[in-house]
Amino acid sequence: MDPLILARWQFAIVTVYHFFFVPLTLGLSVAIAIMETIYVKTGDETYLKMTKFWGKLFLINFAIGVATGIVQEFQFGMNWSEYSRFMGDIFGAPLAIEALLAFYLESTFLGVWIFGWKKLSKGAHATVMWLVAIGSNLSALWILIANSFMQEPVGYALRHGRAEMTNFFALVGNPNVWVQWPHVFFAAMSTASFFMIGIAAYHLLKKSKDLEVYQKSVKFAAIYGTIGVALVILNGHTQAQHMVETQPMKMAAAEALWETEQPASLSLFAIPSQSSQKDYLSIRVPRLLSLLAHNNFTSEVRGIKDIQEEYSQKYGPDNYIPPVFLSYWFFRIMVGVGFLMLIVILYLLIKSSKGDYNMKPSTLKWLIWTLLLPYIANSTGWLFTEVGRQPWVVFGLLKTKDSVSLATSGTEVFLSLAAYTILYAILIVVDVYLMKKYAVKGVTEIEY
């Protein structure tokens, strides 16, 4: 059993799993902080009920986010020791700062929020949720500073066979961070929004008691979600344009663009073949990729083969082409789901702004399922950006295959892979069970 392959599978599984729970925490913490603030400012009890109801579900989700987060910090050392030796300066610092600034804040104050309803004034208690929200989102910022370096190394020098930090502000100011972090935050807003919509839709369908809580939640989620989805798409476009310049191979793979084209065509459908280096069943629209990439109809976009040639010259002979089929389809699914979310959220924005919550039962049933859309987009988004960077773990500096721990045997990694997979499978069943139980129970059962 090859430790490298097993370690890669493990990293993918535990990280995607972690990122099921994190976006909801990031987006819903802010949403609940807003709801509780509205309650404090207006005294409208509906917002208190919303705070408590969505808060309960938030806690069920948060627990697994935190629990699976510990694995994340440890696994760089456990499975990727050679990466850690190479990148310690640059990756370790943001991770430590993440703990110091963000984890302490969110974990400490969440404890206060849960237990402090009777001990703090209304305003103080709402402030506490803001601290949780800020803490979680700062956490995202710092881990993305670390990840952004992997996509686009800045502020470093190669010394003593490792990457040493030379400029902390360059690391934090990495342009990649400032297209990537907003993208994750807006995706989180979208996740929280559809979570609320899916569950509220259930109650609208069942005509549950306290109907106005669910109606107000739909309205809240529609506004919150419109901002989230619209901005995730717009920002995503900016991010993609940035990546065309800084990670051209990844974007060429995203477009299954094997040959350089000028002007460049946009692919609507393709079955890329890694071995033949061409696309089967390819449907392309002329000039549109030039438009998306460079805002004109005439520019050149470099293809996979040419970039491969360039990298072989620059970095030495090797295969620099990431898995194209996966890159292409992960990217496409993410974007497609994003636009589907846009349609749904705009529909709800219109309905709720008119105060019209009388939707057909079949519509409400579909709306329940839209809860899953952001999960698909979040996962495919991360899978795209990490798969598309291969064979690099740090672009241009270190390859994934050179990063794995030398001390860990295939057997050990197999054991951990099996253990995490089994434990995580149990936890997600338990999580969904509890979520469903409390989502369905609704507001009326909660004391406030």
Partner: protein
């Protein structure tokens, strides 16, 4: 004092904070199924650490993150080398974290009892494994010329390390019993008091075994001359005084004493280890030190500034949370967990 030494001390501080705070969480979790026999009592016990356990656990994450940032080679060698031990610890911590939140969210007694045992094992394993890990670090393990651990898993379960594991478990359980004694009322307070007496004896026995064994298995006492140093002496006195205060039902002072025991034990260990981070049992030339395992001076400087600003802030607000939740819990208290 160079930055590498400063960071050695800071890592020790972070581990001290972790053991002091999570120490009583683990102790409470270990006592849970035994000290509380009915659902309501169990809920009271869990709720004593309810507001705090997550913020306490972050000390572990900060210690780990800081190790990565300041001494990446140490982080890499330790975490990849002690792989199975860390895996077991992670599984325990993950399950425990979920257990706290999920335990009372279903009414079924079987559901609740299962999660209570998850809390138990989720507290016992990390406490034990940290003792094993630290014992192995100060004893020395097979590390080759490339800073790679070459010892396998079972090598870590040597008798010396096991004695370390038992010492940590006993000390944390004592610490937890005293904490429970401070935070509960009536029958639970009484039960915690009795536990504290029992566990004080156990802690004394296992710590003495571990300390005596350390004279023979390691060089941490003898390294700086035969005198183990004032820190070891204070730790010993504190542990004894803890017992005195427990007997006298002065649980506040007893808690201070176990806190001091933990603090000065960590100080003694790190002092004996300095300037090494991991000892190679194969060849002293292959030790990891604060010089050959560290990141660049620039990174150490940046991190020092960040820590200097934020650790005091964190300490302040964490202390505040203990203050606002200082009330003792009874079976009449409204319980969130």
């Amino acid at each position: 004092m160079d930055l590498n030494t400063v960071w050695f001390i800071l890592i020790a501080v972070l581990f001290t904070g972790y053991f002091f705070l999570e120490g009583f969480d683990y102790g409470v979790g270990i006592l849970l199924p035994f000290i509380a026999k009915d659902d309501l009592s169990r809920r009271v016990v869990i709720n004593t650490i309810g507001p705090h356990w997550d913020g306490n656990e972050v000390w572990l994450l900060t210690a780990g993150g800081a190790s990565f940032a300041a001494f990446p080679n140490w982080y890499a060698t330790l975490f990849s080398g002690f792989y199975i031990a860390l895996l077991l610890m992670l599984l325990a911590l993950i399950a425990r974290a979920v257990a706290f939140e999920y335990r009372s969210k279903d009414e079924s007694p079987r559901w609740r009892n299962t999660w209570d045992w998850v809390i138990f094992f989720g507290s016992l394993l990390p406490a034990f494994l940290w003792g094993v890990a630290i014992a192995n670090i100060i004893k020395g393990v097979p590390i080759d010329a490339h800073m790679t651990y070459v010892g396998g898993f079972f090598n870590l379960l040597n008798p010396y390390a096991l004695s370390g594991g038992l010492a940590f478990v006993a000390l944390f359980t004592l610490h937890g019993a005293i904490f429970l004694n401070l935070k509960t009322t009536n029958s639970l307070e009484e039960a915690a008091h009795k536990s504290a007496i029992t566990w004080w004896w156990l802690a004394l026995i296992f710590v003495v075994i571990f300390v005596v064994y350390s004279y023979f298995a390691t060089d941490i006492f003898t390294r700086h001359g035969f005198n183990p140093g004032i820190s070891a002496f204070i730790a010993a006195v504190a542990l004894i005084l803890a017992g005195v205060f427990v007997k006298a039902k002065s649980s506040g002072w007893a808690f201070v004493m176990t806190a001091l025991t933990i603090l000065f034990t960590v100080v003694t260990i790190f002092r004996g280890l300095y300037p090494r981070l991991m000892i190679s049992s194969l060849n002293p030339e292959w030790n990891l030190t604060i010089y050959n395992a560290s990141s660049s001076p620039y990174t150490l400087k940046v991190m020092t500034i960040v820590v200097a600003i934020f650790v005091p802030i964190v300490l302040a607000y964490q202390a505040w949370t203990y203050w606002i939740f200082r009330q003792r819990l009874s079976t009449k208290t409204e319980l969130e967990y």
